[in-house]
Point group: C2
Chain length 292, copies 2
């Protein structure tokens, strides 16, 4: 079973005929036929019902196709990755950053490391909630920076910073006296603006939310902030993002009953325990230990 054979098989499935698959692959029809046939013989299976004019996928063929397609996608990804490794002088340091942490205190540490490794290729991917650690588990990132959300025994971490989360709202949306707690009831009719989880499998859609109540989802903190300023709802947000708005009065800090309205969340540098790190990743880890 070679990837070329799989490619031929997949192309026939998607094109619907051997001939068009051949032209798509810049090959001739007999070689495509041979490739598929050798696959079929290898497994002693029949992927197509050839009794009709056009080949028709059998159940086995359909089942095999779904898996083969995924394998080939991964193969092309590896191909790209290899070329990317070659174009960069040294393999990049891939960091999965919780969007929450995109603040000076954290970026300063990355900059500090960069100063010591000026030739380094940095690749920062911002993710939300479970997406942060998912990048680590999928080995798409060497290190992650974020809160300990969804952590388990496979991870190792060190605290590197703290972030103050507060709950805010546009001041004219509610009749508020400063310093007075807001009841959940008062917020029920206003949308709670949440960040969509970028994790693919089991998103954390229920941390720090109120039961009942309308929920709106956005993709990043900029959009969250924009909706808040436009008085479309209320939300928890890192304080540093809305600092200006708090000062000029366009947003107001509130305290909601039975809700984690304000908290200081520690941020961690996280890595997989049993994964061999690149020398850059090791150096970054060490640097964070010392810098602290």
């Amino acid at each position: 079973m070679t990837n070329e054979q799989l490619k031929a098989f997949i192309c026939v499935v998607e094109q619907g005929s051997f001939r068009s698959a051949a032209t798509a692959l810049h090959k001739t029809q007999p070689s495509v036929s041979a490739a598929v046939k050798s696959l079929e013989q290898h497994f002693n299976l029949c992927f197509f019902d050839r009794s009709h004019y056009r080949p028709q996928l059998t159940d086995e063929g359909r089942a095999f196709y779904a898996q083969a397609k995924k394998l080939l996608q991964q193969a092309t990804q590896l191909e790209m990755y290899g070329h990317q490794l070659a174009s960069a002088v040294t393999p990049p340091l891939a960091i999965s950053l919780s969007a929450m942490c995109a603040l000076p205190a954290v970026l300063e540490k990355i900059k500090h490391f960069w100063n010591q490794h000026p030739q380094m290729h940095l690749q920062v991917n911002t993710e939300h909630l479970s997406g942060v650690l998912e990048q680590l588990k999928l080995e798409k990132a060497d290190l992650a920076i974020g809160p300990l959300l969804g952590i388990d025994h496979n991870f190792e971490y060190i605290e590197i910073s703290q972030i103050k989360m507060i709950t805010v709202i546009a001041p004219h949306l509610l009749d508020i006296s400063p310093g007075i707690q807001i009841s959940q009831q008062q917020l029920r009719n206003l949308p709670h603006i949440l960040i969509s989880d970028t994790g693919s499998v089991a998103p954390f859609d229920h941390v720090n939310v109120l039961l009942g109540g309308q929920r709106w989802y956005v993709n990043d903190y900029q959009m969250k902030k924009a909706l808040l300023i436009s008085a479309m709802g209320w939300a928890r947000i890192p304080e540093h993002i809305v600092q200006h708005q708090l000062e000029d009065g366009s947003l107001l800090k509130i305290d909601v009953e039975n809700f984690n309205s304000q908290s200081t969340v520690p941020m961690y540098l996280i890595k997989l325990k049993n994964s061999p790190s690149s020398s850059l990743a090791k150096a970054f880890w060490q640097d964070m230990l010392n810098y602290k």
Copy 2:
């Protein structure tokens, strides 16, 4: 880039030398050398530092190895899958079953379908929480049966049954008058016995739990039941599993304040929306629609 070349590269990394890799692969040393070299030339990269006696992985080599290894693992899985397809007469119907649903009412429906397709190969995988849908997303299962936990717009579902969840405890653990609500405080000192999520990425570790309080994790409902009967804690559990124990008095149904102590959870047959189903999966779906 062929899988054979990757296999050679990976084997050299793991064996630590070209020669031992060659014997492991039942090839000669020059052909392994050639395979690795052609990989390196393909990407214009250097995977090994050959200036020493033993080849030493470069940073690029290490980075590439991690990804290549995963690709090959998937390739061998596809290989196995193909042979499995061949050994079974027809591709199996793979169902991801929430362990919660392993009860007569649900199994009866599967049996009903089996009676109509006596030659069918069934492959049932019981999972917990996010693991149920993860199997669907990874295309390891054609259909899933479980509650709507972690559902999103990519899924399609039909209700097929209902399950009564209750909260129970060994009677002598608490001083209880029947019919009286238990305060959370009374349970704080007793472990809450939970099922571990089988999902790999972002487990649902916080549905129907009390804040604070000790938590124990088990892998299946049999173990949960065993711990309950041994008076090691309290838990939510499907009623049908502990029916006997409720009758003979070895377990007692309780009602906890501000906790979802008792509820009827609907169970659904779930599939991915945009995934081409096998004819068996389609038939099962139709059967469930009609049977209902």
